[in-house]
Amino acid sequence: MEPFQVGSFLTAGVLIVTGLWALLMMDNILKKIIGANLIGDGVNLVLITIGYRPGGFIPEVMHHFHATATPSSYSHLLEFGEFASNASYSLPFALVLTNIVIGASTLSVMLALAVVLYNKYHTLSVHKMFEGED
């Protein structure tokens, strides 16, 4: 158990819980959107922390890279065993990159909707906006 990693996971948990709290309990539409974004950030932090490895390399095959080889000589996949057993886990980083874009996209749509709803109702309170509905 790496204390740094545990601390990072707990921070992510706090972010998620804060986001949930803002999303469920707050009345302001912008605060709800910020809460939704915080949840996404918390999940991203969980993924990044999965990739953490104490003392690991950054996942770039720099000095090990087979730079002079031409593409036609790759008849089989080469193995970079030494690099692979020391580098940090790389898959979660790629997933985080995807999720960041997803978060940005949903954020933009929600902000646009918030602008339109504000122009229609002249209030930011969700309570007043959704009044008279079940």
Partner: protein, 489 residues
Amino acid sequence: MLNNSTLIPLMVVLPLIMAILVNFLHQKDKSVKFISIVSLIVFVFIPVVTLYGVHLFSGHLRTGSFPEVSKILIPEVYMGIVYSYGAVQKILMVVLTILTGFSVLAVINKKMISGVYMAMIFISLAASSAIILADDIFNFFVFTEILVVAQAALVIAVQEAKSFKAAFKYMIFGTISGASILLGIALLLGSYGLLNITDLSHAIQAGGALTPIGLVAVALLTLGWLYESGLFPFHIIKSNIYENARPEISALLQVQSKFVLVAMALILFRVFSGYALLKSVILGFAIFTVVIGSVMALQQVELRKLLSFVAVSQAGLVAVGFGLGTPFGIAAGIFHAINDVLSMAILFFIASFVYDKFKTTKLDELGEGLQVVPLVGFVMLLATLAISGVPPFNSYQSEWRLIQASAQAGVPELGILVILLSVATFVAIIKAFYMIFMKPGSKVEVNKEVRGNLTKAIIVILILACLLIGLFPNMVYDPIYNFVVSLGV
């Protein structure tokens, strides 16, 4: 191991290319129309000719997993993304593309055609196809997010305050469910190191009992599933979406939601097949959805709202099949999903016709419609019979199989629930039928310009399809049953 099948990615990629093109050609209505119709023919054609098999994206084959270092519990894994295409996927894809085609034709026929609107329909088609085909849990997540945004866009396109609010709610809860699915994926990735669903299920079986982390992952993924398919805690949000979109688009949205329900439930069952509590939880939420959905449908006095709640309660019935957990029950559930989307689509198309013809869907104001449009009234009567499980039609076959499956699984009480739901659905829709077509004293003006020949043709074709499946159920049911047995859940 199944062979690589070349045409599988085109089912997702071609709609995406066409979406880009029609968005690019916005405001050039003629070319948008031409491209849409041509591409729809291609979309229907591709699932029919594609061979069963898997598709390995980027050509990365199955490789050894070096278990001593990577600590993966199985000897070989897929490194790239994999799509699998079997009998169930084929049937779902054909139904999905045909119904999408009908919706697009209805949109074109109403001269509401615009590039961006068509682009959203194509993107949602691509996303739901990807969800049906995906054998990779993260790819599944990405395309569910696309589907949420695209469905919200289709609702927003109505440009009314109510639709903005419905879309906003849908997006907010969509972020919660998306985050919970992703957190579940992260927990599975951390503790099993895999993303491919087939590999993941093998690894979890090899690892014995689920870890505490795995249990939380089940809960989170189930929460996401409940949202994506509009089951119990989220039924109001989903029915809001159906009710605020244009009716011919709602016909499309309910197909997508129900197929996402089927696809994601299959994923849950394959990954966590050894975990018995999952079935009871799903069954519980399904029963809640059925009861609440049908009760709320009975209260409504507006045609689109009523149909939305009927759609939600029927989704609950599909989930009941999954909740039984036996191969027989799951096959019956999938079969019911296919039957149900056909008859719900007829009802939504009729709602669209009524809305065009009479400019309202409030049941109090409508009446005496049978003299104006006898054919539509007759088809609506048949569709009501079809959706509530009356013998010559298709839903009878699936509901009968659901009742049998529940008796086999040792819970015959569920059979009574299914029958009660049929009765409630019948009462709710027959009330709507009476108030639209029979009730004396209409308060609305008939729009004589609306002929609706295309809508009439669509609903007649769909009711014939319902009848066909009802007469020859084994044509559809047997491949599904064999597929479910081959999954070994």
